[in-house]
Amino acid sequence: MKVLVLIKQVPDTATQVKVSADPRRIDTTGITWIVSPYDEFAIEEALRIKEKRGQGEVVTVTLGPDRAKEALRSCLAMGADRGIHVNDPAFEGADTLLAARVLAAVITREQPQLVLTGRQAIDDDMGAVGAQVAELLGWPCLSWIMEEAIADDGSKVRAGRQVEGGLELFDLPLPCLLTAQKGINEPRYPTLKGIMGAKKKEIKELKAADLGLGEVAPELEVVTLEALPPRPPGRILTGDPKDMARELVRALREDIKVV
């Protein structure tokens, strides 16, 4: 079974993020880049599917500038078989729909039985690309999955999505798309052997012209990025626990009236 995993390279949350001279973009100097954490759950799940079935191919796909190749290498080091890097200035400033159009075009070329991705990328936090890819392809999809099991004959997958108050299980015919939620698995760390081996694996670079998309432009535009307005300094209470508790409850009631 061929499984495609859509991943995104994002700034590590621990690094500071500043707005650049162009107020629509962040300043990328000094940023540490990582594979978006939810995408790691997707990669891990794809590797487990391949291991369980004893055969198959895990192909990891990203859309991004030159540096995004590093994110693909990380996935190859975890065990993915090959990578596809869509790298073209024409796609700079892509919104979720443009990204979904590009990725759907790659999927159409590759014809996998299953596509996995994370529930959202932790940079723009849109959480839309997976569902939009499925819509463009006319596929069923299930978001925020906590478990999945592919039928032995490879015809369908039973997957459970997290919803308010429970888990909803569905049978989806293949091909389909699933987005991974934390809790589905524990992503593995790349081994030294994996890291060395990753260097030899294929990463194919694709340009806009290779995808036959014609003219594409983002539908949503960033007007500006702004630093968060600072929160007014808080009140720190110390001393006798009883006094603190009494004072807090009084202030919540009388001063700011939230309880």
């Binding site: 993020v17 936090d125 069923p140 308010e164 015919p173 432009a217 007007v223 990025l225 630093a227």
Partner: protein, 330 residues
């Protein structure tokens, strides 16, 4: 009316709209008024209660587009999206808004792809510039705010729960209900079963007005009972840090933060939580933040409105007593 603001109804699966729907209708009402536009509700469900429809009218929906059919529950994107997209093609709404709930965040994304328009997910504010809507949304773990606008209508967006003021209810309004024909596509996914979570008797984390959250400082799963007792008094939900979840003290669905739930309650009380950036990403839009931590240097104190420096095992039971006294006084 052409160019209306459409609000997608999130219901309780018993045929009644939830409070988030009143928030979406409330904000849509305010923005639509500035543009001289109307507000309408769009509801796909397997059952719509009569008082549920009246509720939507009371919250300001001049018209309710209703599809009521067993095939619509539970939500399936490939079934819902074509239904609403087709009507949107005829009616040309100016905006289509949902809430950040498990179904609507996916549904609105699919709808945007089907209509070929932009999507702004998880919005926390809106403004108008030259008759154009501009949305504000947190990005990069909530460290920055991004202002975005659409190239064309309908303006598709999801709204973060608990952020927007609910519509004022006017019970004298009656609903105008339209029931367009429904055609359900064949094939696709089939529903198997729903596994209910163990009932806690406490509100849902993402909808709760008050959240009491615990971290590694709680030392073990058994001590979460302290937070549950406090939550009981306050009618609050109980959340947890990733450290507490990864230690197996709480199920994943209770995790607050970047790789957990995003919440925006009126009051957040973090106990024994250090306040790592990934945790803040999930709760920093809470209106009032309180923290109990024995380390005066804990980063959570930097964003807390009230910081209690102390041992949570002493402070939390005392807080519970104080809140209880308050409730008893009424």
């Amino acid at each position: 009316m052409a160019g209306a603001f459409w609000c997608l109804v999130e219901d309780d699966r018993q045929g009644r709209p939830k409070k988030v729907t009143a928030e979406v209708l409330g904000e849509a009402g305010r923005r639509a008024k500035e543009l001289g536009a109307g507000v309408e509700a769009v509801w796909l469900t397997d059952q719509a209660a009569e008082d549920g429809l009246r509720q939507l009218a009371a919250w300001g929906a001049a018209r309710v587009w209703l599809w009521e059919d067993a095939a619509l529950a539970p939500y399936r994107g490939e079934v819902w999206a074509p239904v609403v997209a087709e009507l949107a093609g005829k009616e040309a709404p100016r905006a289509i808004w949902g809430a950040v709930t498990s179904r609507q965040r996916e549904f609105v994304a699919r709808l945007a792809a089907r209509l070929g328009v932009g999507l702004a997910a998880d919005c926390v504010g809106f403004g108008l510039t030259d008759g154009q809507l501009v949305a504000t949304r947190p990005v990069y773990a909530g460290k920055l705010l991004s202002k975005v606008r659409w190239k064309r209508t309908p303006w598709l967006a999801t709204l973060r729960p608990n952020v927007f003021r609910v519509a004022e209810a006017d019970e004298s309004r009656t609903p105008a209900v339209e029931r367009p024909a429904l055609s359900v596509p064949q094939g696709g996914s089939t529903f198997v079963e729903r596994r209910e979570e163990a009932q806690t008797g406490l509100p849902e984390l993402t909808e709760a007005e008050i959240v009491v959250s615990g971290g590694r400082g709680l030392k073990g799963p058994e001590n979460f009972v302290l937070l549950e007792e406090l939550a009981q008094v306050l009618g609050a939900a109980v959340g947890a840090s990733r450290a507490a979840v990864d230690a197996g003290w709480r199920p994943h669905r209770f995790q607050v933060g970047q790789t957990g739930r995003t919440i925006s309650p009126k009051l957040y009380i973090g106990c024994g939580i250090s306040g790592a950036i990934q945790h803040l990403a999930g709760m920093r839009t809470s209106k009032v933040i309180c923290a109990v931590n024995k380390d005066p240097e804990a980063p959570i104190f930097k964003i807390a409105d009230f910081g209690l420096v102390g041992d949570l095992f002493e402070v939390v039971p005392l807080l519970r007593e104080e809140f209880k006294k308050l409730k008893e006084k009424g």
